[in-house]
């Protein structure tokens, strides 16, 4: 008589269990696992792109004015409403949002599943230097460069403004309006027929999205 599986059965009796012994042995997630959100408020510029792209509506912000007139912005991520799709982190031009491999997300009391960060957003430039600086910098550049383009084909490259806000290079710009459509603050007005490229400096948050999306690299920061 032959017992073909006896050896196998006896050896399995003394072998270790094959299951994942999770609570007793730590089990790290895969390298690209998208778990708990970490927010870096110090780099956030409050462009609100993350809120606009969030499918679950998990991202909210509150804004309070402090005594200096600056905005104190608190941005909150509700992990109980999040799909962990990484879209907010993909769209964040300043890489302030990060999805870590931490999956231990258990909520027992209210607020357990809320990730938030507070930062101060400085008020837009003081009213006094603005009228002086803006006409000097922006229109001079546009008026100076626009007539120069038809005369001399090799127009000089537009100079960066120095404050992080975008400046247009009229020799490269084709007025495709992509920058205006992608602008999270709706600060850009582009008219294709009239060949107008206008920046509303009060609305601009200097996020750099327009320069990233420009197919002609006509925007310098």
């Amino acid at each position: 008589m032959d017992f073909p599986f006896v050896k196998e059965a006896v050896s399995k009796l003394f072998s270790k269990p094959s299951c994942n012994m999770y609570p007793f042995v730590e089990s790290p997630a895969a390298p690209n696992y998208r778990g708990r959100i970490v927010f870096h408020p110090e780099t956030c510029i409050n462009c609100n792109m993350c809120e606009r792209v969030c499918a679950g509506g998990a991202i909210t912000h509150t804004s309070v004015k402090n005594e200096d007139g600056d905005d104190v912005v608190t941005r909150s991520f509700d992990l109980g409403s999040c799909t962990f799709c990484n879209t907010c982190a993909d769209f964040c031009t300043r890489h302030s949002i990060e999805l870590t491999t931490d999956y231990h997300m258990i909520g027992i009391e209210e607020g357990d599943l809320i990730v938030s960060g507070t930062f101060v957003k400085k008020a837009i430039k003081k009213p006094a230097p603005k009228p002086a600086a803006a006409p000097a910098a922006a229109p001079a550049k546009k008026e100076g460069a626009a007539p120069a383009a038809p005369e001399a084909p090799a127009a000089p490259a537009v100079q960066p403004r120095g404050d992080g806000k975008p400046a247009q290079d009229p020799s490269k710009c084709v007025y495709c309006t992509i920058c205006a459509r992608k602008c999270p603050g709706e600060a850009l007005t582009v008219d294709r027929k009239e060949k107008i490229w206008k920046l509303d400096e009060d609305k601009c948050v200097a996020c750099g999205t327009c320069a990233d999306v420009c197919p002609k690299n006509a925007i310098v920061l």
Binding site: P23, G56, S81, I106
Partner: protein, 146 residues
């Protein structure tokens, strides 16, 4: 004496009842994965019960649709006290991407007391084990108060 024995054994073996309230099945698959030999939550005493009347922990998945709301509440009412309600995934906690839909009644916490929320979409099996462990602790304190 028997009472103590029963209390001690039930504390170590909480039975689960799983309600799908219109879930996309992602969370359901993860909950089943927890019961498979890979994660084998039965080694910690958890067991899937066939009826809510035998269960200690109710696990709710899905965004609680209008049609399922009444059934979910009736099922949770059938679970004997002390019970522990666990929501799994983002849907029963907030509605997730179905938020604002005319046919979705989430969050579940509007209707019943929810003890543990397991976040994730869908949560990792390890996270579910964490949540069930927390639910067992809560069950223990609730049983002590009774």
């Amino acid at each position: 004496m028997f009472k103590n024995l029963i209390a001690e054994s039930t504390a170590k073996s909480p039975w689960l009842f799983h309600i799908n309230s219109g879930s996309c099945n992602g969370c359901d698959i993860e909950l089943v994965a927890v019961l498979t030999p890979r994660y084998d939550v039965e080694r910690l005493g958890f067991k899937l019960a066939g009826s809510p009347r035998q269960a200690d922990i109710v696990v709710v998945t899905g965004p609680v649709t209008k049609l399922s709301l009444d059934r979910v509440l009736r099922t949770i009412d059938q679970v004997p006290d002390p019970k522990c309600v666990v929501t799994m995934g983002s849907c029963p906690q907030s509605g997730n991407v179905f938020k604002g839909s005319y046919s979705v009644c989430a969050p579940l916490s509007k209707y019943v007391h929810v003890d543990v929320d397991i976040a994730g979409c869908a949560p990792k099996p390890e996270a579910i084990i964490d949540g069930l462990a927390k639910a067992t602790e809560i069950l223990k304190t609730k049983r002590g108060q009774m």
